[in-house]
């Protein structure tokens, strides 16, 4: 299982400057955990007390995971996850 996670520009310094990272996992939670194993500094920025931070949005194939099963949303080979800051618009 290979999932692509797109890293936003301001987080790339914590991911060896990469724009995307390949991870493994069966759902969003385990995929992000896999990302965190490679780059622990990212975990602290994405999560707070085990929850996705208030101003971080996670998209699975362009859909906000809050409209799916949140962190429990299943992922499959070839899926793409994107981490995008939520402080925009209005």
């Amino acid at each position: 299982m290979s999932i692509t996670i797109h890293i936003p520009t301001p987080m790339r310094q914590h991911a060896d400057g990469q724009a995307s990272v390949q991870v493994v996992g069966t759902n969003v939670q385990t995929a992000l955990a896999s990302l965190g194993e490679k780059y622990p500094a990212l975990t602290a920025r994405i999560f707070e007390n085990g929850q996705v931070r208030r101003f971080v949005n996670i998209y699975l194939n362009n859909e906000d995971i809050r409209y799916l099963d949140s962190l429990a949303s299943a992922v499959k080979d070839g899926d793409e996850l994107a981490i995008i800051p939520a402080v925009a618009g209005g």
Binding site: R45, E48, F55, D64, P85, V87, A88, G90
Partner: protein, 418 residues
């Protein structure tokens, strides 16, 4: 020069500070960045008499805005009327009602001209030449017009199902308008990605800390127009949820620099029932808003399902002792017509939302009938005429004949003339 008064940017969650640049969030926790001012220095430099000597537009409060130099975009913005609305007050059964009328803001007839004036003036200071926005319509109009006047290239991204008048009112300024098959939130996400990739100045994304400050001038003007004091109640429409907090911030800043007494003002948020993430959060006591995947309302300017400032708007409402409500499309249209026939003000759908919610809050007893209320009208009804069409009578058509006209007058039940 206001540059003396800006210390930098500061995260609203963790307090981390950053130098001034085109960025909108903290790299530690992704919290929103806000302009950090030296209020003591401002208090030493600015007072009521100094403000009163300046032209009546938004820049008379320049020290409390985040520019390094004089504004170069939107120099005529603001200075809109605060109207004493006695006829509407009578209809709603309250004593004292005011309307802050940004439906006649210059140049594009909505409060967005205030935020855009700051954002684009800042964009120029930062050396940006291409600007843009994600918009539900009013912002699109304003960015396109102000960018055109400033000679900046603009890219405007909107949901493709937006009212045609709002799209035409953007294209006319020579902007590159791109309709996105999706919701506002999807447009917004795309713009965030574009801003990262191309480094352009998106007013409500990477210029957002500066942009948002422009909304304060709506609040400064209310306080000054009331004779340097604040009302007991303010009702404000909510889309992204920023404006309501900025009005409160404006009142607090005027107090902070010694221009008004301590504000004792309750804030009420107004949303359409078809897109009510913030009012639902307030009414249900939730800790976070639950985003609305597919907004369904005639108030398209308020159709933001995942409001960036939802958390902060709910906090302002709760901490001030206010409340939030939402209203149906029918209630919105009828309220637009009510405002028109009582006060001669044609507000867009968001104005209908504000009037209808106010009516509801008064009937619920949440806003007392004997205390002063200010309603925020943020956009012009000429942009959303279809929304009110079903609530109005069709004109009566007759021959150019005095006899036929007199005949109409004798028809007591004629809807046009009663």
């Amino acid at each position: 020069m206001s540059s003396t008064f800006v210390r930098g940017l500061k995260c609203r969650l963790c307090g981390q500070t950053y130098p001034i640049s085109a960025t909108n969030f903290c790299t530690e926790d992704f919290g929103p960045l806000e302009v950090d001012y030296d209020y003591e220095a401002i208090a030493d430099s600015l007072d009521r008499s100094k403000i009163e000597l300046r032209p009546f537009n938004m820049w008379r409060y320049q020290e409390l805005l985040p520019l390094d130099g004089e504004p170069t975009v939107g120099r005529q913005v603001g200075g809109t009327p605060l109207v004493r609305a006695d006829r509407l007050a009578r209809e709603l059964g309250v004593d004292t009602l005011w309307i802050k009328n940004d439906a006649v803001n210059f140049p594009t007839l909505s409060f967005k001209d205030r935020v855009v004036a700051v954002a684009l003036s800042k964009a120029r200071e930062l050396g940006l030449t291409i600007v843009g926005c994600a918009s539900t319509g009013n912002l699109a109009n304003s960015v396109a017009a102000n960018a055109a006047a400033a000679g900046l290239e603009s890219y405007i991204l909107v949901p493709s199902d937006l009212e045609r008048s709002k799209i035409l009112g953007t294209s006319v300024y020579g902007a590159k308008v791109i309709g996105i098959r999706g919701t506002y939130d999807e447009v917004n996400r795309l713009c965030t990605q574009i801003a990262f990739k191309y480094g352009w100045g998106f007013v409500n994304i990477n210029l957002r800390p500066f942009y948002a400050e422009g909304s304060k001038t709506f609040g400064f003007e209310i306080a000054e127009q009331l004779g340097w004091r604040t009302p007991r109640h303010v009702v404000c429409p909510m889309a992204g949820g920023s404006l309501i907090g900025k009005i409160q911030k404006a009142f607090n800043e005027l107090y902070c620099i010694g221009s008004i007494e301590k504000p004792e003002c309750k804030f009420y948020g107004a949303q359409p029932a078809g897109c009510n993430p913030i009012s639902a959060m307030v009414k249900n006591g939730w800790d976070s808003h639950r985003p609305v995947r597919k907004p369904n309302t005639i108030a398209k300017s308020l159709a933001i399902g995942d409001p960036a400032d939802g958390y902060f708007a709910a906090k302002v409402i709760r901490d001030s002792g206010g409340w939030a409500e939402d209203v149906t499309d029918r209630e919105i249209s009828e309220a637009m017509a009510l405002l028109g026939r009582t006060e001669g003000i044609f507000a867009e759908t968001a104005g209908g939302v504000t009037i209808a919610v106010t009516q509801k809050l008064i009937e619920q007893g949440r806003i007392p009938r004997d205390e002063e209320i200010v309603l925020c009208i943020t956009g012009n009804g000429l942009k959303t005429q279809d929304a009110v069409a079903d609530c109005l009578e069709e004109p009566t058509v007759i021959a150019p004949s005095l006899e036929e006209f007199s005949g109409l007058l004798t028809e007591a039940a004629s809807p046009v003339l009663v």
